[in-house]
Symmetry: C2
Amino acid sequence: MTADVTLESQRVRRDIRAGRITGTSRGLAHSFVQCNLAILPREYAFDFLLYCQRNQRACPVLEVTDPGDPVTRKLAPGADLRTDCARYTIFVDGIAREDRADIRDLWRDDLVAFLIGSGITFDGALERAGVPTDRYRWVLRTKRPTEPAGPFRGDLIVTMRWLTPEQAITATQVSARFPFNHGAPIHIGDPAAIGADLAAPMFGGPVPAIPDGLIAVFWACGVTPQSAAEAAGLPLFITHAAAHSFVTDLSADRLMLP
Amino acid sequence: MTADVTLESQRVRRDIRAGRITGTSRGLAHSFVQCNLAILPREYAFDFLLYCQRNQRACPVLEVTDPGDPVTRKLAPGADLRTDCARYTIFVDGIAREDRADIRDLWRDDLVAFLIGSGITFDGALERAGVPTDRYRWVLRTKRPTEPAGPFRGDLIVTMRWLTPEQAITATQVSARFPFNHGAPIHIGDPAAIGADLAAPMFGGPVPAIPDGLIAVFWACGVTPQSAAEAAGLPLFITHAAAHSFVTDLSADRLMLP
């Protein structure tokens, strides 16, 4: 990145900051990594980072800001995490209180922001390898417990995709090349084997009967740490609103190169 | 692992605990992951974990114990980190005070242990791919700064190997398969480009002139976080003594599968 080039990701963040983009981040700055955002008090930051380390497949931490510093240094130098997501959700004592376009007045000297890789990131690589990503995709709760740390615990949340057997094999190889962004699938085949809750998907419509010739493939999902933070009932917890992720300047292809 | 099988790694730890093994861990339980050990007060644990996250190539954290708990749960279930290394080095205010075979009397309720992957781990995979690992290997300081966190900072420490160009290409491919254990090289060729200090290797004998036909290849090294923790001058910091790593029950081949 050189000084006289404005990246597509930088344009997107500028438009978000100015209120010109207020909707979902899906489809924006397509070749750049998008991140889940988790902001919480320093008091809980060690346990949360530990939770992410212990459940790295679900919680790939890509950057952590210093306490009180709302500016990202690595993934999007100079971006302000108080204004550069299009929408935030504010949790107080574990309850979602409101959505906001700006959290400047909520910022405190003890807040720490975690940027966690989003599964959207390898969609482009899947598409290029001939694996469709625009349908047959759900986010589901499972009965597989994560490893707890301090107050953070809960069951693993997964992304389920329905693919042909050939696509499933290709998708396994492609996603394995992103070890810092969920990596290879954690399960393939029977949803019941991991207790995946088909009755109530967290995202995606109702799950119909699986068409003949397709197989279910499951990846650890970045909603897992967000769900654990909500359940922990912290006095204050701020996250990006669903589908309004933080757009970074990191090329998605770079995540392939650990 | 089943209940009626004793792993080679478990036998090694039992012999260490009983004082029957007191020397280096090099060559012991060859197919199992060995870890660098860093034990420090809870007060510094967040910054240290953050330092490792920010410098993940050099500091692949594989397990962190809960404060006060000296027992590993994941990499070597039931192992006692106060007795199961053959030798420990104790730092007080950043100064190495003594080496010990046992740290039970130093253990405190606020100590947290970090197990960090050691570069020894992929030696077996390199050997199987025809890359020799028994000579031409040094650990060197560089002038490439790491990303600081709290009191932890310092220049990157690297492992330098001299290889033929063909071996260098093979070694790059093999090590890239271990993204959670330093991964691919960080540099190849001229040591001066990263300020590698050939005059005073940390491990390995003096560096002679490189033989014709060989090329220098550099990997981020797990001595980096240990060096940063020493330099931070913590009131108490305990590490494995050099070449006396902690032997885990994790198969080295498993680290290939993120």
